[in-house]
Structures are given as structure tokens and as C-alpha cells.
């Protein structure tokens, strides 16, 4: 009977119920989205650096080198001699040394001059066409292809820098030789060409005639090499070894307080959602006092009335959680679709965050219902049944 009354009472005031669900669901969805997105973005950042043990670049800021070579978010400190990269490749502790030459961009996407093993290193495969085999051929990443509409056989010209310098290399057009499948890694956001293409475009701009690259991405043979190789590289003039894992960790640690604020904000949103639930319950109680008095007069115990009120708040939390789950899923999907194409959505992790949100919301709903239960215990049945 109590279960039936819970649903009857809620159905009897649909607008109030809908408003309470909306407020709770928005609070919950925001809190779950914030925590889930933070985790997804951290995972996303780690994935970009996966497999890159050391970034070797020109001397300067190690963090800047990592941001430029791994995430393509900053400008490089300078160039290094290709001979140095070849020497590193031959080093017994090095498994792979992939040179990359940066300098130009198309539609905001970095043009990366490199060797054919770069594509395999990121686990990319061809969706159409073929990998660049001759200078000025380019394979474009999936996100760039989607954004620009470039397809196999199209031509484009690179702009100097990230396109903010207003200089185009119109005399050296690229030809799209292939389009890559999406990988969820940074290669999706780049245009891959041969090192020779970058040298050709910048012929005459270089400070020396010696072949240069911007960075070398190193994969080491063993973890022990991590302890010694960076020191050895840093001893060489003009070279700097940066460890992406360390630089990323330093960056994240320095932003720990941001993560803390974000989590606190998520907590505030859940508390606000539960406050709206309490408001809805108290408002409903004010209207239901005579009916609760009837129930008491007909033999309902205080425990049964408490179950009735707890039932109402649990139904509100359950419906709000389902709506919040749907809102979160749509929100994260939209973010991936329209803003962060490379973001890999971990559905299982999202479900766990949703479950955690549901658990927290349930506990808080129980706490929020306590003042209501106290009010129920003090309902003056005699007065309600006698007054006109």
C-alpha cells in the first residue's frame, strides 16, 4: 500500500515532480560530467604520450618541448641536427628514434614531416589512398579530413607556423595521397608528410645547409635506460631530453588545486540538487499533512509514514539519476562529436561514475529526508482531524 501511495502522491503533483526531477538531474548530471570528463581528459592526455619515452629537442623549456612534440600545443624551442637523431637511433639503449620536423600547418592542423614509421608508431591505418612515398605527398589525419573535407587527390598549401603568421607556401602545394583512420591519438589532428617535404618547402629559409628535424621521439629498450639516457643526451651541446611522463605529471601536480576545486564544485552541485529535493519534499508535506493525519488515524504507524516519504525521495532520486545519466551521455557524446574528436569515451568508467553519483545522491537524499521525517513525527493528527 505504501508503495502504491508513493506513486499516487507523486503522480498527483506532476509539475512539482517534474521540476524536482529536472533540478536534481541537472545537478547530478553536471557533477558526474565534471568528474568523468576530468578523468577522460587525463586519460586522453596520457594516451597521447603513450610509447614516447623521451622527446629530444633543442635546448630550452622541457615542458615546452613536450607540449610541442607530443600534444602539438606549443611552438618548439628550435631545431636539432638530423645527424643527432641518426646517432640516437644507433644507440644501444634506443629501440626507436623517429624524427619529426614541424614548421607549417593547414587549417590549424600541424604538418608533420617525418619517416614512414611515424604512422605505424601511432597505430594509424589508411582509410583511403596510400602513405606519402614522395616529397609533397601527405596523409591527413581523420579529424583534419573531417574538418577540412580534404580527400585523396586534393591539393593544399601549408601556412607558416600555426597559420597565424599570414605566410602561405603557395609555390609548394601538397597533394593528399591518403586519409588515415581515426586512432583517438594526436595523429588524427595532423597532416603527415615526409621530412623531405618540409625541407623542400623551407629550402633557403634554413640557417644552415645541414638537414634538421625539430624533435626526435625516442622509445627505449628498457626502463633502466630512462635513468641514464636523458642525462647523456643533456650533456650534448644544443640538445635537451624531456620525459613526457615526468613533464605531464609536473604539469598535473601544479594544477592539483584546479582538480580539487572542480571536485568541490561537483560536490556543491550534488548538495544543491539534494537541497532542491528537500524543498520539493517539504512543499509536498505542507500540502499532504491532512492526508498523512488520515493515514495515522487509519492505523498507519510513524514508520509507515517515514517509509512513504523516503519512498518519494528514492523515486525522485532514481528518476533523476536515470535522466542525469542520459544527459551526461548526450553531453559527453556532443563534446566528443563537436569539440574533442580524439576523445575516447570509456563507457564502463562513465557507468561507474554514474553509479557512484547514484550512491552519493541516495545517501544525501536520505539525509535530506530527515528534516521531513522530523516534521512528520510532529504532525498533530488530532488537530488535523478536528479542525475545519
Amino acid at each position: 500500500m505504501i508503495t502504491r501511495l508513493v506513486f499516487r502522491f507523486l503522480c498527483d503533483r506532476p509539475w512539482q515532480f517534474a521540476l524536482a526531477v529536472t533540478l536534481c538531474a541537472l545537478g547530478l548530471a553536471s557533477a558526474i560530467s565534471i568528474v568523468w570528463l576530468q578523468s577522460l581528459l587525463e586519460t586522453h592526455a596520457r594516451r597521447q604520450a603513450q610509447g614516447i619515452d623521451i622527446v629530444v629537442g633543442a635546448q630550452g623549456s622541457a615542458l615546452q618541448n613536450v607540449l610541442a612534440a607530443v600534444y602539438y600545443l606549443d611552438v618548439p624551442n628550435g631545431n636539432i641536427r638530423l645527424a643527432e637523431v641518426d646517432a640516437l637511433r644507433a644507440h644501444p639503449m634506443v629501440a626507436k628514434a623517429i624524427p619529426i620536423a614541424l614548421g607549417d600547418s593547414v587549417a590549424g592542423a600541424r604538418i608533420v614531416g617525418t619517416t614512414p614509421e611515424f604512422v605505424a608508431f601511432y597505430g594509424a591505418t589508411l582509410a583511403s589512398g596510400e602513405l606519402p612515398a614522395v616529397p609533397m605527398d601527405a596523409a591527413i589525419g581523420a579529424a583534419v579530413a573531417a574538418r577540412t573535407g580534404l580527400k585523396v587527390g586534393d591539393n593544399f598549401v601549408g601556412a607558416h607556423g600555426l597559420g597565424d603568421l599570414g605566410v602561405d607556401h603557395e609555390s609548394h602545394p601538397y597533394r593528399v595521397s591518403g586519409v588515415l583512420n581515426p586512432t583517438g591519438r594526436v595523429i588524427d589532428q595532423t597532416v603527415v608528410t615526409l621530412l623531405e617535404s618540409v625541407w623542400l618547402v623551407h629550402e633557403g629559409h634554413a640557417a644552415s645547409a645541414e638537414k634538421e628535424a625539430t624533435f626526435a621521439l625516442l622509445q627505449l629498450k628498457s626502463p633502466i635506460a630512462m635513468a641514464t639516457l636523458p642525462r647523456l643526451i643533456n650533456q650534448k651541446a644544443g640538445l635537451q631530453a624531456a620525459v613526457p611522463a615526468m613533464e605531464s605529471a609536473r604539469l598535473l601536480i601544479s594544477f592539483d588545486w584546479v582538480a580539487l576545486i572542480v571536485k568541490a564544485f561537483a560536490g556543491v552541485l550534488i548538495v544543491a540538487a539534494m537541497a532542491s529535493l528537500l524543498g520539493a519534499l517539504l512543499q509536498a508535506l505542507a500540502r499532504q499533512e491532512p492526508e498523512l493525519a488520515v493515514l495515522r488515524a487509519m492505523g498507519a504507524s510513524r514508520a509507515q509514514l517515514a517509509a512513504l516519504m523516503l519512498g518519494e525521495s528514492m523515486v525522485l532520486v532514481a528518476v533523476s539519476s536515470v535522466v542525469a545519466g542520459a544527459l551526461t551521455a548526450v553531453g559527453v557524446w556532443a563534446l566528443q562529436r563537436f569539440a574533442l574528436a580524439g576523445l575516447l569515451i570509456d563507457v564502463e568508467q562513465g557507468f561507474l561514475f554514474w553509479l557512484a553519483g547514484l550512491l552519493v545522491a541516495t545517501l544525501m537524499a536520505i539525509v535530506a529526508t530527515i528534516p521531513v521525517l522530523w516534521r512528520i513525527a510532529s504532525v498533530d493528527v488530532a488537530a488535523q482531524l478536528s479542525s475545519r
Binding site: 499516487r8 488520515v294 487509519m298 492505523g299 478536528s386 479542525s387
Partner: protein, 224 residues
């Protein structure tokens, strides 16, 4: 000799900041009706609330023994269990749960006990029929007139077949037809061995009850 169903001895009650109300001593046997008389505010409803277990009987404030159970000594949960099987209650205000149908409201006391079955449903329909509102069973309480609501409340009070019916101003503001039907149902209840304690300042109540009296009808006048 059968002991009285209800024995009240030197019962008093005091609301905070107000003078004590003395109800005196009286008994009520099965199959009889006791009409409580008195001016407004003399404590008629309070006596019903004390006997129905909604208000607590304070220590040293007399005793009330219902069917062998001392109400004054009962815990609040035990007093809750008095209703609806031992004491059916028809409150002064014809309150019902608006989100339930009239029939579901009548079934409410048994539903709270988890005891609704075909027989209980049949009894509820029969009660509604005898009170001439069976055709309103599926309607919401908000659509009922005051008289119809009072009759539905009486059906609800009687559904669990209590031993004592507590009726607080059952015919106040009712039309003649409704008042007659309510009085007839009370008499029928008393005729089957139930006891009725009616609080009423309605002068016509006694004559309504006496018109077809098969039960012993007494009157208790509470002092102001």
C-alpha cells in the same frame, strides 16, 4: 456477566497552558451507543482522540481500558495498532486521500494492514451500498458532497470490523438523508455487537438514533 467493552475511570487531560478537562468515569458495553454531549470546546473530540490513541493519556490522569487493554499504559506504536481493528474512527473532518478512489479510501485501513482480499473488497462494496454511495466507488473524493464524504468515512471506519466506533460529529453539516443513513449504519453496527461512542452537538442525532433503536442509547454530558 460480560465486562464492559470500554471502562473509563477518572480520565482527565490537560493541553499546555489550558485548564484541565475532566471526563469522569463511565463504561460502554458491546451493542450500545453512548452519545457525548457538551458545548463546543468542552473536550468531546479530545476524549475520542484519547480513546483512539492519537493523544497520549498522561501519567496520573486516570485510565481507559478498551477490550481489556489499558490505553494509558500503551506505547505509541501499540496505540497505533488499536486502530483500525479495535477502534474504527470517523473523524470530525471528512478527510480522505485525494489521489485514491473512494473505494480505495474505504479499503485504506485494511490495505495498511496488508489485508485486502476478495472478502474485504466485497465488504467494502457492501458498506458503500448500504450507505447509498456504491455508484461513487470509482470516483475521487474531491467530487463528493459533504454528506457523501461523511458516509464514505463511516464505511472506512467500519471496514476492519472494529469493536468500538468512535464518531466525531458525524452528522454535522449533513443533509437529512445523509444524517439518516449515517445513524442507520451506526445502529446496524451496534446491533451486530459493536459499541459506538458518538460526539455530537446535533440535537437531531438522538432522535435519529432512537427512531429505530435496537441498541441501548445513553447520553453523557461533559461539563464545560
Amino acid at each position: 456477566m460480560t465486562p464492559p467493552l470500554l471502562t473509563v475511570r477518572d480520565l482527565t487531560h490537560r493541553f499546555a497552558g489550558r485548564a484541565e478537562i475532566a471526563f469522569g468515569s463511565f463504561t460502554l458495553n458491546a451493542g450500545s451507543i453512548l452519545l457525548l454531549r457538551g458545548a463546543s470546546g468542552c473536550g468531546k473530540s479530545t476524549l475520542l482522540h484519547l480513546l483512539g490513541g492519537v493523544l497520549s493519556i498522561a501519567a496520573n490522569s486516570g485510565s481507559a481500558v478498551l477490550d481489556g487493554r489499558d490505553i494509558a499504559a500503551m506505547t505509541p506504536p501499540a496505540r497505533d495498532r488499536l486502530r483500525p481493528r479495535l477502534a474504527g474512527w470517523m473523524p470530525q473532518r471528512q478527510l480522505m486521500i485525494n489521489s485514491l478512489s473512494v473505494l480505495d479510501n474505504v479499503l485504506l485501513p485494511m490495505a495498511l494492514l496488508g489485508g485486502v482480499n476478495t472478502e474485504v473488497r466485497r465488504r467494502a462494496t457492501s458498506l458503500l451500498d448500504s450507505l447509498a454511495i456504491v455508484e461513487l466507488a470509482a470516483q475521487r473524493p474531491a467530487t463528493l458532497s459533504v454528506g457523501q464524504a461523511a458516509r464514505a468515512c463511516l464505511a472506512r471506519a467500519l471496514l476492519a470490523q472494529p469493536k468500538l466506533l468512535l464518531a466525531d460529529e458525524p452528522t454535522a453539516a449533513l443533509d437529512e438523508t445523509s444524517a439518516c443513513l449515517v445513524a442507520e449504519q451506526m445502529l446496524a453496527f451496534a446491533a451486530t455487537g459493536g459499541a459506538v461512542l458518538v460526539s455530537s452537538h446535533d440535537r437531531a442525532m438522538r432522535s435519529l438514533l432512537e427512531a429505530d433503536a435496537v441498541a441501548v442509547i445513553n447520553e453523557l454530558a461533559l461539563p464545560r
